[in-house]
């Protein structure tokens, strides 16, 4: 009798711990080395192609409705001859304490066992709360039903859905590739190896500025990179605990800047 009681108490206590899951299966992490990023935008193009992102055209881009799940923010410092331009690729940070997740009334966005912030399109009713609460402005909304012109509909990725009008979406860390890698590893009876999962942005980056991996695996590249003193996370002071880790760019004058 006492045993059952203790078990119930333990279960309840484990439920009370934030996040519930004491240990995640994986903790997918992306490391962005800003020293290597030259702002070419290949990652953005790769993301568009992989995730069936509609291209909305000039007019809607002007209204700030571009669909880039991953964007390269450019900040220009100084006046013309003495100009410093900084790039920072910003995608969904997959926060461990995501502000967007508590906003959703229908469980359309939640945290899964892989430490990913997932968006379930079918559950979404479009209350915009997640996007409003998001501190990185990375969520994108299907303002219209987007159509692909005739030959282009043939290049849609069959592994990714085409989202309906009125649904919120965002960077998934290419969850279809993660799932495929996990399935393959499971079939072969082993764990997922480092470098086996390669999101489209990392794949297309010419300078390898974007590195993806499992932070829980001590042998992975990301786990080694996060010990870098240049490490920082975007808007860390907001206590969102992001999974994307940036490595500061070291400028010519020896100063490192965000």
């Amino acid at each position: 009798m006492a045993g059952i009681f203790d078990k119930v108490k333990d279960t309840l206590n484990s439920y009370r711990t934030p996040g519930y899951f004491k240990k995640l299966d994986h903790k997918w992490t992306m490391v962005v080395d800003l020293d290597m990023c030259n702002g070419c935008g290949a990652c953005v193009a790769g993301c568009y192609a992989e995730n069936n992102l509609p291209v909305v055209g000039k007019e809607d881009c002007g209204k700030s409705r571009a669909f880039s799940w991953l964007r390269i923010e450019r900040y220009v410092d100084g006046e013309y001859p003495d100009v410093k331009v900084k790039f920072i690729p910003v995608m969904c940070q997959h926060c461990m304490k995501a502000p967007c997740e508590i906003g959703c009334p229908v469980y359309a966005t939640y945290h899964n066992q892989d430490g990913l912030n997932v968006q379930v399109y079918n559950r979404c009713v479009g209350t915009f709360t997640c996007a409003t609460y998001c501190t990185y402005d990375v969520r994108r909304f299907n303002w219209f039903s987007y159509k692909w012109p005739k030959p282009l509909d043939q290049q849609l990725n069959p592994d990714v859905t085409v989202r309906e009008m009125g649904v919120m979406e965002k960077c998934t860390f290419c969850i279809q590739r993660i799932t495929a890698a996990k399935d393959k590893a499971k079939d072969e009876g082993r764990g997922v190896k480092d470098g086996e999962v390669l999101p489209a942005c990392c794949q297309s980056c010419p300078t390898n500025a974007l590195v993806f991996g499992d932070l829980q695996d001590p042998e992975s590249r990301v786990a080694k990179m996060v010990n870098n003193p240049r490490k920082y996370r975007l808007l860390e002071e907001l206590n969102t605990d992001p999974s994307v880790i940036y490595l500061k760019r070291v400028m010519n004058d020896g100063k490192s800047e965000e």
Binding site: L12, Y15, R16, T17, P18, G19, Y20, F21, C95, M96, K97, A98, P99, C100, E101, I102, C104, Y107, T109, Y110, H111, D241
Partner: protein
Amino acid sequence: MDILGLFKHADTMLDAAKRLESAGYAFTVFSPVPLVHEIDHAFGERKSYIKYFTFFGGLSGFFTGTLLALGTAALYVLPRGGRPIFFITPTLIISYETTILFGVGITLLSFFLFAGLPSFKKDVPSPEAAIDSFGLLVDDIREDEFVKLEKILKESGADEVKRVEEE
């Protein structure tokens, strides 16, 4: 057969009611406005049981809300925003609202129960009693009592005494 006395003034009606009471008749007061304080004053406080219903309605609402919120959390263990699965503060907000919702609903039902609504069998004995007169109705009297009752009512100042036939 019923007898109905119609009064233009509330105090004369209450006088008549007192005399009827001392004569040993049961009566019903009809009024277009609530006379609760006046009747309480004349005949003593009456009991109302609505408060118990309201209390248990509110209490059941509180538990329903808590059960709904925590039960959903237990059934769908979906961690969100690093918050605990059993998160007490938002649960209290939900149960706060359901307390009010259930409290109001049960109060309405108990009001219907105690006020005998809805019932379309009996009508107001006289239209005036719903507009501008105070009515005093004595149910099921015999023919020989009528004159006596009419006298009591008239003496206390009834403006009109009516014979109401059973339908």
